[in-house]
Symmetry: C2
Subunit: 111 residues, 2 copies
DNA sequence: CTAATATATTAGTATTAGCTAATTGAATGG
DNA sequence: CCATTCAATTAGCTAATACTAATATATTAG
């Protein structure tokens, strides 16, 4: 029962398990587009560290980038979360725990 | 912007980021109840390692245990996944991507 | 052209994580 | 009892991780 080589779930989980890196993802997500310099500001770590975190997030499919001049703009790629959604869905937590939300939503959709 | 002390999301993500430990969780989930000995069998690691993983999972709120004689029976606690659900929900991935499932589900609930 | 800015990368370091082997403490079966 | 089994814990090893400081490479500003 030895695990196969690093599957997507592992890659994404590991990328998001580190609080600093997860905070980077969150900031990227909240701003439509953001540069490395901006992300570095107020992050508490160096620019190099931020670049390293962005590299991990990119490999995990959680962010994408666009170079423009000497700036590189990063944006979130929430589809990168899909492996987690699928994994958790398999364990049946969503519909079970979200049933109340579901009901609320139903009223809004089809009152 | 220094992160506060280990929040639940970090705890759960880290618990599930390791493939071996995640496999343990999966096996615990699949069997209603399972002993450490059974989990060790075919896991590829020693009993000590399994106990250590179970400790992490327990701290993350993902499993619970019941001692009976010299055996300890573990069971999954899927509510422990709640921090992840909440975190991901905040990033809006569920309803967007699961709308078709939602429609299917609706028919079953209220045909 | 030169200086400054933005980002990536690299080498080195300290900490953490996962593992084994060995031990301990219970509980059970002969 | 005594030997065996189950599980938790511990010490010690190794590998991975997150970080900094320094450097390299572009690009832009003056």
């Amino acid at each position: 029962m030895i695990e196969a080589a690093s599957n997507p779930v592992t890659t994404v989980m590991r990328a998001l398990a580190d609080p600093t890196r997860r905070a980077v993802f969150e900031r990227v997500f909240e701003s439509k587009e953001i540069t490395v310099a901006e992300l570095t500001r107020g992050s508490g770590v160096t620019q190099g560290a931020i670049s390293q975190h962005l590299k991990s997030l990119k490999q995990a499919g959680l962010v994408a980038e666009r170079a423009e001049g000497r700036n590189v703009y990063y944006r979130a790629a929430p589809q990168g979360l899909e492996p987690l959604v699928t994994w958790m869905d398999h364990y049946g937590v969503f519909w079970r725990e979200r049933f109340q939300n579901l009901r609320d939503l139903l009223k809004e959709i089809d009152p």
